[in-house]
């Protein structure tokens, strides 16, 4: 899987003649490429001939984290708008991305592992409905194990209930 992904990445690099920043997921092969995993994503599409890329679309494309309410795996309208743009890009490029599901710290760890997967599955379902192939989407749940915000506050919890789309 890692090999396929890297192969696709390499193909992208050749096709567009740009250096694609390697994400931390595929980062072993690229060595020091521990940069913003989404940096290459935007630059690759901007060279793909779409001259009329609106600033709004670019802004939506930059959104790769989608947030959820407590104990919910329901996508919010703003997440759907951003996912529409990602769906178009994924269909055009045929590349593979990971959908990482996360929860806040409340509740048990293994139950949250399942809840995180339910969230990434919700994103997957939405992208597939827009025509993305399920084979392009790898689901992984980290449950409550990888919080972006520490602390036991409503704000921290809201930031941690998320799905991250990663190349």
């Amino acid at each position: 899987m890692e090999v396929i992904k890297f192969g696709k990445m390499a193909a992208l690099v050749v096709a567009f003649g740009v250096v694609v920043g390697c994400s931390s997921k595929g980062g072993d092969a690229a060595g020091t490429g521990a940069v913003d995993p989404n940096a290459g994503y935007g630059s690759a599409t901007s060279t793909s001939g779409a001259d009329s890329v609106s600033s709004e679309e670019a802004a939506l494309r930059a959104i790769t984290t989608f947030y959820f309410e407590f104990d919910s795996s329901e996508l919010k309208p703003e997440a759907m708008r951003a996912l529409d743009v990602h769906a178009r890009d994924l269909k055009a490029q045929g590349n593979r991305v990971a959908l990482e599901g996360h929860t806040d710290e409340r509740g048990t760890r293994e139950y949250n592992m399942a809840l995180g997967e339910r969230r990434s599955a919700a994103v997957q379902r939405y992208l597939v409905l827009q025509g993305v192939s399920p084979a392009q989407l790898e689901l992984i749940s980290y449950g409550e194990e990888k919080p972006v915000a520490t602390g036991s506050t409503e704000e921290a919890w809201a930031q941690n209930r998320r799905v991250e789309l990663r190349k």
């Binding site: 521990a34 509740g107 293994e110 592992m113 399942a114 997967e117 992984i140 749940s141 194990e145």
Partner: protein
């Protein structure tokens, strides 16, 4: 005004005096009005340098942790007997002490020997005299062994102080740089040894009934996989690596099978694998979340499911396939663990209308529920093999800590550690 000030000062002084007087009394009876008062006298030792471990102190803590004993403060003892004939009932009756434990440590050349005497104050006689021996680095083992013997002699319950604890420590150097280690320590947190180290999460370690193998989930390949790890040799066997969830491994009481969760069929379901043949079969079949299996006996699993809308505990017979809901009180019941006798279930519980998660015990025969903890994010309960104590994880000032609590609710203490963040404890079975 002045008189008020005077009154206040007097009250405060009086109060302070009371605190000073009562301090030891509080120490003795803290939260334990019916715990048996026992005096563990510092053991005699004639050697030149002091021993590296205070075995009387360790024994005292062990007995207190069970919630069944109230160790008497050492500094208030009127005498420090070492030999049986030095124990005089009048020294202890007036202090309200029921049992006295005294002993003498001697060097054996290669290690130590402790000759101890357990004395009943009301009966005015020694009721147990024994010797424990150990190598130079086994003073803690000796203390735990003598604690087990004394505990069993008085209560009739096999002691569980010579057991071990597994847990995961996380050391956060930065957001992307966290070191996860699987630790194995004495049940009380002492002598922790690292069994596994990873830059990705390690989850849900669990001791096999033989005490030789452990199972856990590791994300070391950046996806969850279940491993069985042989403690003595360090040999590891990857058990599952399916797409989606691979989680919540739980050993059958006979040690031959592992129950776990996979989502390869689309959503989290519970599977049981025979470890010799690697034959696997799916046990649950529901579109909701089914997770956290635990064995009631070799033919019955309990697990968490949100099939009724909220997470609750269910029971399933592996032969007949019949499923029964076990919990009805509270809006969140999860991660159930069974006591060895199968009569009590310990679980994470949240009351209706409340937001805090607590550890609660649920009597399977009578159905009554008892909440044991008072903090807010309590999880991952694990029960001592004799059912008298449990350890759970919670958060304090932003860090994960492990708490030990007696099942009768009287004793409570934090497991000491050098790490900043601990989680997912698993208590070993009785070890040979």
């Amino acid at each position: 005004m002045n008189s008020l000030k005077y009154w206040l000062t007097c009250t405060v002084m009086l109060f302070m005096a009371q605190v000073a007087l009562a301090q030891d009394a509080i120490e003795i009876t803290r939260g334990s009005d019916r715990a048996t008062p026992i005096a563990v006298v510092p053991f005699g030792w004639q050697g030149g340098t002091p021993l590296s471990e205070d075995m009387a102190e360790i024994t005292s803590n062990n007995l207190r942790n069970s919630g069944m004993f109230a160790p008497f403060a050492r500094e208030n003892m009127l005498s420090h007997p070492v030999r049986a004939e030095e124990i005089f009932p009048r020294d202890w009756t007036m202090l309200g002490v029921e049992y006295v434990l005294a002993g003498q440590v001697t060097s054996t050349g290669a290690g130590y020997q402790l000759q101890y005497h357990l004395y009943s104050v009301p009966r005015e006689k020694v009721i147990l005299s024994r010797t424990v021996t150990g190598g130079e680095n086994q003073l803690r083992d000796m203390a735990h062994k003598l604690s087990d013997e004394v505990f069993e002699h008085i209560t009739g319950i096999k002691g569980a102080f010579s057991t071990k604890l597994l847990y995961v420590a996380a050391e956060r150097f930065s957001a992307d740089n966290i070191r996860y280690t699987l630790q194995r320590s004495d049940y009380d947190g002492a002598r922790a040894v690292t069994l596994l180290q990873s830059r990705e999460p390690i989850l849900t370690p669990s001791y096999a009934p033989d005490g030789q193998r452990i199972a856990y989930v590791s994300f070391e390949s950046r996806r969850p996989e279940i491993f069985v790890h042989y403690i003595q040799t360090g040999r590891r066997e990857r058990i599952t690596s399916f797409e989606g969830l691979n989680g919540a491994p739980a050993w059958s009481p006979d040690g031959k099978r592992l129950a776990f969760v996979l989502s390869r069929d689309g959503n989290p379901e519970i599977y049981v694998m025979d470890l010799d043949s690697k034959q696997m079969r799916r046990v649950t079949n529901h579109y909701g979340i089914d997770t956290e299996p635990s064995w009631l006996d070799n033919n019955t699993l309990v697990f968490t499911s949100d099939r009724g809308g909220r997470p609750q505990i269910y029971k399933q017979n592996l032969n007949s396939g019949t499923t029964e809901r076990l919990t009805f009180v509270g809006n969140y019941n999860a991660n159930a663990k069974l006591s060895v006798d199968g009569r009590t279930m310990v679980m994470v519980h949240r009351q209706d209308g409340y937001r805090n998660f607590h550890i609660a015990t649920h009597d399977l025969e009578r159905g009554n529920l008892k909440v044991l903890t008072e903090t807010s994010l309590d999880e991952s309960p694990t029960v001592a093999p004799n059912g008298t104590m449990l350890i759970y994880a919670t958060r304090q000032q932003g860090r994960g800590v492990l708490m030990l609590v007696s099942t009768n609710g009287r004793a409570r203490s934090e497991i000491p550690t050098k790490f900043t963040d601990l989680r997912v404890p698993s208590w070993s079975p009785y070890l040979p």
